[in-house]
């Protein structure tokens, strides 16, 4: 009886280790990164339609992928414009407002193809699996990834609560209001 209980608990514990799962071998590329897609210009708040791109599994729920994304965020100098998520000359990434959509495929296209007014295109520079890792990290900044798979702590001085304590933002898709004159 005790043995069966122990076995059951072990199986449950092992099954719960998904957040630590490491996928070293990249899955074969699903979509060519350099496909040409037109950004549908539209008036109003709805996010651009990035249908046709499907996020692969194993990134948003993986602490490893998110931590790799965090490392790449510094290596590739995303911090140069976005600071550590708080925004500088680039928009903040840890709030609920997503100019070009907060779904993984929106963020993927933002990184791969660039966006007007300053976001460069990294599609030819960053391999696809690393873009998905960056997507997972950027989304974790706003609490959009599962709470058990967020980077435990930042390496820099921070005035914001740690990612594990951050509440999930409700993405509005609205661009920030213009500051009062």
């Amino acid at each position: 009886m005790r043995c069966a209980l122990l076995l059951g608990v072990t199986v449950l514990l092992l099954a719960a280790c998904k957040r630590e799962e490491r996928r070293f071998e990249a899955p074969p590329p699903t979509q060519p990164v350099d496909r040409v897609r037109m950004s549908p210009l539209r008036v109003g708040g709805s996010a651009p339609n990035d249908a046709g791109l499907s996020p692969p599994p194993g990134y948003d729920e993986s602490a490893y992928a998110i931590n790799e994304g965090q490392r790449l965020f510094g290596w590739f100098n995303c911090t140069g414009c976005h600071a550590h998520g708080g925004g500088a000359i680039g928009p903040a990434l840890m709030d609920a407002r997503w100019t070009y959509g907060s779904e993984p495929e929106n963020v993927f296209d933002t990184i791969a193809q660039g966006r007007p007014n300053g976001m460069p295109s990294f599609g030819s520079k960053i391999p696809e699996q690393q873009i998905w890792q960056l997507v997972a990290y950027v989304r974790s900044l706003s609490g959009l990834t599962p709470a058990d798979a967020r980077p435990a702590r930042d390496e820099h001085v921070s005035v914001t609560p740690p990612p594990t304590l951050r509440r999930t933002e409700e993405p509005t898709g609205q661009p920030p209001e213009a500051p009062p004159p």
Binding site: R22, F24, E25, A26, P29, R71, W75, F76, S124, K125, I126, P127, E128, Q129, Q130
Partner: protein
């Protein structure tokens, strides 16, 4: 990679200390085991002869089975004296060892504070970056995974870590020295004779800790200066169209985001500098021998060669891969 074949003064001191310990302790072991064997043999003989019960022994009244042997004051005193003598001898030997350790530790730590050259060693997950310092910034040389030393000249190593705790260990030259993030430590080494010595990260630092080797190449000072001058030169420009296309792939593709090649616009600083890639004997920190076949495999499937490495597999068309390989071959 053998600390018993020292190639530097500190490793020599450590090896002598080891030999001293080994010699003294072996002698003590031999004496102890000999005495033990003698007494074992003697007690077996006395059991066999079944000597007569001692006349002077008297039974303890309330403990029927026990026999209280009479104490012989002379024998007792001799016994106490010999126990005291051997305890004191043990203590003395330990003290000698302590003094020898402290002396060797001091000699190793204070070895030549006036180095001829400074090399900054930065440990990354899972490779070594080596920066040969110079008073002129344009003469600084950055390489990876291969530490060249001029024979007979002390070289100070400034040790830093870019991510987690690593440990610098080249057994033929010196003991271990930890590299701690946010903390700069230093050590001075010297190679006494030319040769190739293997080093290894000696502090568990993640998945590929075991594949984090460092090759130390000690060469005569004139060869060393020649090597340093060749490393200082920018990369050879490509000579034919294939190589030029390969350079395009490198500079405008994913490689340049992490790797640098001096003389081009590729200036990534988070992965090994590839300006003189082909001059190195190994790639991926001692994982593969540096030959075109293994370099192609490393680029094609790095996660199979060294699972977990930060080098990603980059999707390249067969043509682009061939061009890139042709270009990398020019980085002599």
């Amino acid at each position: 990679m053998n600390p018993l074949l020292p190639a530097g003064p500190q490793a020599q001191s450590i090896a002598s200390l080891f030999a001293f310990f080994l010699g003294v302790l072996s002698a003590i072991w031999v004496v102890v085991v000999t005495v033990l064997l003698i007494y074992l043999a003697r007690s077996r003989r006395t059991v066999g002869t079944s000597e007569a019960p001692e006349v002077a022994s008297s039974a303890i009244p309330d403990r029927p089975g026990h026999v209280l042997r009479p104490t012989d004051p002379v024998r007792e005193r001799r016994f106490a004296r010999s126990v005291t003598f051997f305890a004191a001898l043990t203590l003395a030997v330990l003290l000698v060892f302590l003094v020898a350790s402290v002396l060797v530790g001091h000699r190793v730590a204070t070895f030549n504070q006036q180095p001829a050259r400074v090399v900054k060693v930065t440990a990354h997950q899972w490779w070594w970056q080596l920066e040969y310092e110079d008073s002129e910034a344009s003469r600084i040389v950055i390489t990876a995974n291969e530490l060249h030393l001029p024979v007979g000249q002390p070289v100070r190593l400034e040790l830093e870590s870019a991510d987690v705790i690593h440990s610098f260990w080249v057994p033929a030259l010196h003991g271990k020295r930890d590299l701690i993030p946010g903390w700069s430590s230093s050590t001075t080494v010297q190679a006494d004779h030319p040769g190739v010595f293997w080093g290894q990260c000696a502090e568990f630092c993640g998945t590929e800790h075991a594949q984090m080797a460092l090759e130390v190449i000690a060469q005569p000072p004139s060869d060393f200066e020649q090597w340093l001058a060749s490393q200082r030169a920018p990369a050879h420009p490509p000579e034919n169209d294939t190589q030029r296309r390969g350079q395009e792939v490198f500079v405008h593709g994913a490689c340049s985001l992490c790797h640098a090649v001096r003389g081009t616009t590729a200036g990534g600083g988070v992965a090994p500098d590839l300006t003189h890639l082909k001059s190195r004997r190994h790639i991926a920190s001692g994982t593969l021998v540096n030959e075109p076949k293994s370099l192609a495999r490393w680029i094609e499937e790095p996660q199979r060669v060294k699972p977990g490495t930060h080098m990603p597999a980059v999707a390249l068309s067969p043509d682009a891969r061939n061009d890139l390989m042709a270009y990398l071959e020019t980085l002599q």
